[in-house]
Symmetry: C2
Subunit: 218 residues, 2 copies
Amino acid sequence: MEKNEVKVMQKILRVNEAIAEELRKDLADKGVFYMNLMSSPGSGKTTLLENTAPKMSGNLAVIEGDIQTTLDAERVAKAGIKAYQINTGPFGGDCHLESSWVKAALQEIDLTGIDYLFVENIGNLVCPAEFDVGAHTNVLLISTTEGEDKPLKYPLAFRVSKLCVITKTDLIPHLDIDMDLLRSNIHKVNPDMKIIELSAKTGEGFDNWIDFLRKNKR
Amino acid sequence: MEKNEVKVMQKILRVNEAIAEELRKDLADKGVFYMNLMSSPGSGKTTLLENTAPKMSGNLAVIEGDIQTTLDAERVAKAGIKAYQINTGPFGGDCHLESSWVKAALQEIDLTGIDYLFVENIGNLVCPAEFDVGAHTNVLLISTTEGEDKPLKYPLAFRVSKLCVITKTDLIPHLDIDMDLLRSNIHKVNPDMKIIELSAKTGEGFDNWIDFLRKNKR
């Protein structure tokens, strides 16, 4: 990295952190539990939200982050979730969301009656982990199809998150995945990480996710 | 983006491009076909290489890019491929590889008798697409578990690649994926993209990948 680049990056991270703290406090004051969903592309973030909505009586809002398209916002809106789309394409196709963009989005969203706010971050296990978006809890999703080694290879995303949701458990019989090894790799990089295993398809384990949401309601 | 950051980024991209051109020419002169494998984490880049080795009589070399761990280099070395690991962790956990790092790695690798050189880029559908590593062909992998919408949501990775390898076709019966829609979305963002569909598990479609390698041998 060039010296110049390091200096600019430090400034960006400092500004990002300050706005993140502001958001964390504001949303707590408003009684909203704010989660940041991170994962690889296709791990099932949008599907998790679609399946959460019917169980939570319409008090969810989502800020969708994507480089391009409003596909995810359309999907969650159809499921009855208040949705707002951020597209990073116009700003150079950024690979993560920053707290200032969430702050700007929140100026457009009426949070009256909203108990839960989600940010669905850009599908990427690397960069989003470096930028605090001010959430009360970072939630990392990993699908059973991604292999046991991902916590070791992308440790920061696992370290900055409190909860790991392992998705697509219905596929386990068709995969060679060693679930014990995956769990132990998760706890190797983050010993306190809570793990919830579920299948949006069969509904298996979904109650644990709903319990997690209800227990954390402010 | 800050003005300063834009200027630094432009300089980085210019330097990266110059080294990329140099690598492209050098490796062509040496008769090595050089491919850059890009995908989400867990799409099957390492497994593709492991399964390619036994069919290609030991003339493969791989530069593995990871933030941390040498797990992938160990896997491909075990399969008989000459492997070199780049870890970006010490440089700030970078989310992509750059041409200068590949150039440095190549100073450590004896390419005598090597017909095919692969870079296994960091598992990330966003950032690697922005940095030309000088490959003759970018190859994008996407697994059947990732959904049909990925070409629309991560278009740059599909645009800069010539070949799309759709992996894990053995899982199709257990998924809700619409393969026609996936193919049509791929061709919507890159009309000329060649598609090879395969399963490393069953071997289905693997011959098409081997044919692709043989046809492009220099």
